[in-house]
Symmetry: D2
Subunit: 330 residues, 4 copies
């Protein structure tokens, strides 16, 4: 297989309360607004290089419409279209720049039910001087507002479809490597951390017996440079009246985490630091058994197991009411 | 009242497994050994100025025999003896240097049942060159081993005796100020954070309906300069096979915490950073209601409420077995 | 001497460009505005408890008009007036609330030429809900903007008058203790770090052979909780086009520092963390010899010796020109 | 070109004082000893996955004998041998396991004069339980001693040969990408930061008009997870009597740095954190002009330009004498 994916690119989010989502992602998380086109907002972290890593469009309910990945070469988009189309996957062709900043693209549905996009061409908009970093290798001024993460890191998705088919799809069709997993003695993978980069995961996929919908988007994760940045983010979230899970450290990936929910869309966001990079070409999947899963999830700190998050609802006059959301099962 | 206490001085600990306690306090926590006299070990942090802030003596069971405080002036020791003796407290006189490094002292029992000591004179032993800091205002080289906290911070003690009598004793007889407290509408103080210094607490006292013994020593707390030091300490504790509670942040005191138990004595240790200092002479006690207590205990992070710690037992060949210890009720 | 000073209170600054100073202190340093009265602005850090710790008034040139200290008791203000007046110091009486938030006060000139103020009564204005911390023991929401230090720490002042007279004034008349100093073999103190609190210094006084004016205000210092906060502040300053000195670590005080200049007034600001507290009542001054001064100033990092800062001039359209300011001689 | 390099592998160092070098790399830097074979020591960081990332062998003078890189596939070693041999580079074949932990390898000399090695096979020795991490995805217990970096990051090498030939060699023959560079208007590259991974550099090459030897090894760099770890490392180095440069932040690479010299070999070590990763497949080299070089080198902090390091000489009884070494010209 010649064609290859280079990186996770962006998440297309719908929010039933775009105003609240914008407040959350700009003032609490600290993303920068690349541009607004119509009623859709395009955001990225100060160290992200492509046009946007998150888009927020209005919708009846909070949901992720698709997840975009950039290929290694321009021709890979068509090669993937041929390959996947040849195996019976329905390919949707998206004309260049239909999504602002994103060139010609294809979309298809993974066996898990998640809608994925592949593209190569990107726009690199010039940032106006007042917001541009004084560093020529950095996009925006850093630490301007809120938690202020550096860059998009990964996504975590859940499914109750036959996950072995999806793992096979990601590894054999898209070229991902499973770097760590929770696996039964019988070889069933319950959760897998997969990447095309040296990151431990660009995508984590978790399987469930039963979900409300087959394909669930669990969280989008942004990277911060230091663990101290996550503790500061915890303070910032609390001062904004938001519930958090964490800080804690995963055994799997060795990364330090903090979770918080966008009150506008219900989308979970992870702030993330630490962890390791995989440069070894013959990396052997690190296998955790189901009985090691709790330890794998939480090495220390606030546990992500059985810990329900309450989502505050915010309108223009402040936090109004709360609703319960399911615990993080990962 | 002319006489006054200057600071918390040291904790005298007994351990049923001194070897394990020494390993824990030296290699995991990273205290320095001032000296060994007979079968007792005298330790302090790299930034502590007096002879020791923790002594470890062999005993049938882990327990704290007394807590020492330094007075502001030499004559204050006798003045406190007169004052407390005059009110019927039995005063034990300890000859100078009976406790290595500690001059003439008095001991008495607080209404809570805790044994307290007051002294003024201290020895300031010269540190051998290989361990001495290159800084003339610092005792030992910093960050030599383990978590490596800077200095003793406070103690936390529990009682099931009438705590109002003990709060009165600490404030009226010993000159402490209650900086924060958990108090019922009826004025019963359930927990009080008290100090003679600008620290939010040199001593915290927590009242219980029923304890196994009237006077319980809950934890000794050492200060670290940065929150990152606590996260590193979490890694160190886990790598030594020790369970921890935390990291988390108290609302009360605003400090960031990590708890771990000495496997030799069962003594709980808190690593501690952040928080605020009180320089206002007219500080008004910050009052938390019982229903705010959980929030007061844990602003964010791993909760100290209802979180049991398991104490590993260590012998020369490593961790052998574990026993459960009660949850942190504070 | 019964009367005593409790703490450093505030610095009254004049700026020739109040707009630039406000931008600097609010957006770069991250202080909060308590209130504006007339053309004067009153600011404080998110963890400061009194009405303000910095005031900015318009003036022909940047300068500090006086430095305020809070006494331990209300009656101490009058007692200090009597004591100092009796020794020939001219006492100016300031009616209560002439300075917003500050009660009845006295002002006088130290032998070094610096104008000092003593007061006891303070207003503690209630913060509006949108800016108030969710923590009842904290004034404002933390980490809202800029470097976001916790609280005022100390001031550093310079003189070319006979400094021994001023050290005597601070210690004998005002009750300060010299915790560390640079002293010649002959006993001349070249620089002294003095406090009435357990901080290593509330005031540092540095003597010079010749200054442009006898009494110079060198810097106001705000405290940050973690060294990581200072590194983030360095990024923030640079992104705002401001020159910095540091980060570095002083041997004297053991504190980590970052210096930056308010482009509006030319006032130097230090962000500060680490360091030690002095609880020992018999602390012996740590004496550094002149030949140890460079090491005393900079333990590691960007040296404060002979390091000139360039002050950018900012107007509404951005940074316009720069002028050189003298090196930090401390 | 099918064959490819996966990663920087290890540095083979000779030391004229192996005992001092071992003390430095184990106790100050905090590397772990994989094994000793004969009089050569094999070390790595707690998060390194291959047998060793640094070897220390006795020699008449401190020097680096070669730098090893791991290929992506086993067959790539032979393919590179053919390719380079075909272009006239003399290929030395090293039998498998001649270097402990390293399989069949080839060595050749880059146009800059540096001796490079390529290999694929590696041994992954099992770590004894007392030093093994409790995490199955981590090699050794972390934060056991000294600065305790996570992993090898990059090397920095200097040459006074025609550097354009060497840049061409690295990019065209070895597959590196120049991510950032200092380049004259005429297109002469004065310094280039090159990688085969998403790191900004696996190798930096700096050109000089004249060096004492054509090929100079400037520094080996190890990664730490947090900026706070570097400040702690600064304290540790100073307490060991070692001079440091930094902490500071490069504009080029955006990374935070600390430099210290191994007193045994004179080898410079960089501790390194922060910085960015490059996942974009069409990354355009960030070009700095010579007049931007000082800013490119030091964004803030202790400057690496014109800052001489003094190398202490250590023998068994402590630091004996010092000799000056050239400034860091990078």
């Amino acid at each position: 297989m010649k064609q290859a994916i280079a990186k996770l690119g962006y998440v297309a989010l719908q929010s039933s309360n775009v105003e609240a989502s914008l407040h959350f992602f700009q003032d609490v998380i600290g993303l920068e607004l690349t541009e607004q086109i119509g009623d859709t907002y395009y955001l990225r972290a100060w160290g992200d290089f492509q046009h946007h890593t998150l888009s927020i469009a209005p919708g009846e309910a909070g949901r992720v419409t698709h997840i975009g990945f950039r290929t290694k070469r321009r021709e890979d988009v068509a090669l993937f279209a041929d390959q996947l189309g040849g195996k019976g996957y329905e390919i949707e062709h998206i004309a260049a720049w239909t999504t602002p900043g994103i060139g010609e693209a294809i979309r298809f549905t993974a066996p898990s039910g998640h809608r994925l996009e592949l593209y190569y061409d990107i726009e690199k908009p010039v940032v106006e001087e007042s917001r541009r970093s004084v560093l020529k290798n950095q996009t925006y001024k850093s630490y301007n507002k809120g938690a202020s993460p550096r860059r998009l890191d990964h996504v975590n998705i859940h499914t109750d479809a036959d996950s072995s088919v999806t793992y096979k799809f990601f590894t054999e069709e898209l070229g991902f490597r499973i770097n760590e997993c929770v696996e039964t003695e019988e070889g069933d993978i319950l959760a897998g951390w997969m990447s095309v980069t040296p990151l431990v995961h660009d995508v984590a996929l978790v399987s469930h017996e039963k979900l409300e919908t087959t394909a669930r988007f669990h969280h989008i994760s942004y990277w911060q440079d230091n663990s101290g940045d996550l503790l500061r983010a915890a303070d910032i979230c609390k001062e904004h009246g938001l519930q958090i899970i964490g800080p804690g450290k995963h055994s799997i990936s060795q990364a330090i985490y903090l979770y918080v929910i966008d009150p506008g869309s219900g989308c979970r966001v992870e702030l993330f630091t630490g962890g390791y990079l995989i440069f070894e070409p013959d990396w052997e999947t690190v296998v955790w058994r189901p009985e090691e899963r709790a330890f794998g999830n939480t090495y220390w700190g606030d546990s992500i197991t059985g810990n329900p998050l309450i989502v505050p609802t915010i309108d223009a006059t402040g936090i109004k009411e709360t609703k319960a959301v399911p615990a993080l099962e990962v």
